[in-house]
């Protein structure tokens, strides 16, 4: 692997060369990150503004897994796109290994941050061989000659647990779990520091999901990777993450270490979310989570705390003033609730 990696002159130390270097430093930092979209509007008409991601600040220590949960439309995927450089932030910035994303070269960014997407059926080009798919990042970055690339692909296949013959196959010949292994191999061939996993197992069957989760954990340990893990499956999140951030209508409403969030959630939305997870325990029935309606229109968010129309504990203050995400005395988390 070093033949290719030495050809690359990335500045600064990378944990890939020394997995034990620099524990405790921040791999990924989001500083008041916002993304707004303009809806409708026209030549003479002012469009409405939608705050897909609103003032999100988050720090992910190197080698840790940060979970991100929330309902569809809460802004998780927009956030992921900004981290990958696929969408430019409207405000704020992202620091990757301490270097700002704003104005950074897209290709350089791709060496540090790579995605694994949800659906391995649509994220792999059906007309390319697996070898070409996995080697594409090397080709784009003009790294190595064809012999070296082929060798790297063989290494990656071995690493993700695919047989050598898979290199010559097409995505259509592989099962869902095998395709997701290909997507993981493609993401890791550039030896990134940070991997953005956007629902990486939700398109897979449970028996295969366990294989992929085991693989992700193994690779994380082996290469000291930092994951941002987006998922709606709370059992999987609890198993995998070190810290967890809960998003609601574009904002983080609670963030903290895993044990604290799952053990003693403070925000009523986190509490409802955890209560709605159905564990395989017969006899418990389906809980009444008392959340009422669905998420309000993100283009027209409620006043005060955005969660107040669904919150069983809302008081007058929640309707008028918006709670700030702040640390709570005596613990390591942050929560945005007047009543927490």
């Amino acid at each position: 692997m070093n033949a290719i990696l030495s050809a690359e002159a990335a500045p600064g130390p990378s944990p890939l060369r020394d997995p034990h270097a620099g524990s405790g430093e921040i791999a990924l930092e989001l500083c008041a990150l916002s993304k707004t979209f303009t809806l409708g509007g026209g030549f003479f008409r002012q469009g409405r503004t939608l705050h897909a991601v609103n003032d999100v600040s988050l720090r992910v220590p190197r080698g840790q897994v940060m979970g991100l949960v929330g309902e569809s439309g809460c802004g998780k995927s927009t956030l992921a796109k900004m981290l990958l450089g696929l969408t430019t932030p409207s405000d704020g910035d992202v620091l990757i290994d301490g270097r700002p994303l704003r104005g950074a070269d897209q290709k350089k960014l791709a060496r540090h941050v790579q995605p694994i997407f949800q659906d391995p059926y649509s994220s792999l080009n059906p007309r390319k061989r697996i070898e070409q798919i996995i080697a594409l990042p090397l080709a784009i970055h003009a790294m190595g000659n064809s012999g070296e690339r082929r060798r790297r692909v063989a290494e990656m296949l071995d690493l993700v647990g695919l047989p050598k013959r898979a290199a010559q196959q097409y995505p259509g010949q592989l099962s869902g779990g095998q395709r997701q292994r290909v997507a993981i191999a493609r993401a890791l061939i550039m030896r990134p520091d940070i991997v953005i996993c956007d629902e990486p197992t939700s398109a897979l069957d449970v028996s295969v999901q366990a294989q992929i989760l085991n693989l992700l954990l193994d690779l994380k340990r082996e290469f000291g990777l930092t994951y941002l893990f987006i998922s709606h499956d709370l059992a999987v999140v609890e198993h995998l993450v070190d810290r967890l951030a809960v998003m609601y209508l574009g904002r983080i409403v609670e963030e903290g270490p895993r044990a604290q969030i799952f053990g003693a959630p403070r925000h009523p939305y986190t509490q409802a979310l955890l209560a709605s997870a159905l564990t395989p325990e017969p006899g418990l029935g389906v809980p009444d989570i008392g959340l009422g309606d669905e998420m309000p229109d993100p283009a027209n968010p409620p006043t005060g705390c955005a969660f107040h129309p669904r919150c069983p504990m809302a008081v007058d203050r929640c309707r008028s003033s918006r709670p700030v995400l702040e640390g709570v005395r005596g613990d390591a988390g942050r929560v945005a609730c007047h009543l927490a």
Partner: protein
Amino acid sequence: MALLEARNLRVDLPVDAGTLHAVRGIDFHVERGEMLCLVGESGCGKSMTSLALMGLLPRRARLTADCLDFDGIDLTAISARQRGGLRGLRMAMIFQEPMTALNPSYTLGNQLCEAFLRHRLGSRQNARERAIHLLERVGISAAAERLDQYPHQLSGGLRQRVMIAMALMCKPDLIIADEPTTALDVTIQAQILRLLRELQQESGTAVIFITHDLGVVARIADRVAVMYAGEVIEAAVTPALYARPSHPYTRGLLSCIPAPGKTPPGSRLQAIPGVVPSLVGHVEGCAFRNRCPLAEARCETTPPFMALNEGHRARCHFADRPMASATPSQPETIS
């Protein structure tokens, strides 16, 4: 007598490479007013089974059964026209994706009332009244105005509520719900499942609920049938299945979901190695043997659907072995 009884139900589909045996001789029954969950992974034949019951199989598919009896009606013998007479009236279906199951170019009122009017259960006014009543029952506000709206004006959760109301329009005896909450957020899923269970118990409608989620099954099912590779490999009342899973596949499925409080975070999960076998061509012996920790030479022969306890059956040569010896890989006994 059971409301629905299927014995040796088979669905074969011609494909390029030969014949795909999507459903391979399954036996099950549904009692009146009960919730039966068919659980399994993609390709196990659960959706094909539901389409077979509804008479909605693709035209090229071939359905055979020793018995497929719905309340005294032999479903394999009746004409397509007679089938149509049952659909919507006595058996109704709720699909996974309400956006594709609802027609975008008709109003909700139009679609809700269609089956009611087609089966001549009453006047247009009666249909409208029942639709409003049911929309209110499934928790949709301003029901009368909603009737004039189109599907795209509703969120996913609301659309699924409309689908449930639609299934109930003609007071059917049986509802088949095919992964009705898979496309929804967990918070909405909990609400929809609660509603479905409530309505089912209140109206006495039998429900066949198809899902891949063992968490959902545990919370709503009266009985469970686990499917693998086109067969029912285990069937039991819900508490018994979770207390004494007897097929290695069922045990594998249950152990590969991280269980909060039991599975240490970050530890290796028990995975089921390998992949589901191809069901094209002749399948001989136990279909799970290439992934099974217990497999032996005798697994080359098809195992019987062994009766274990009252209503608990498993299709495994070793199903009657005590669990501790059957799962040597689980280090539970080590203290």
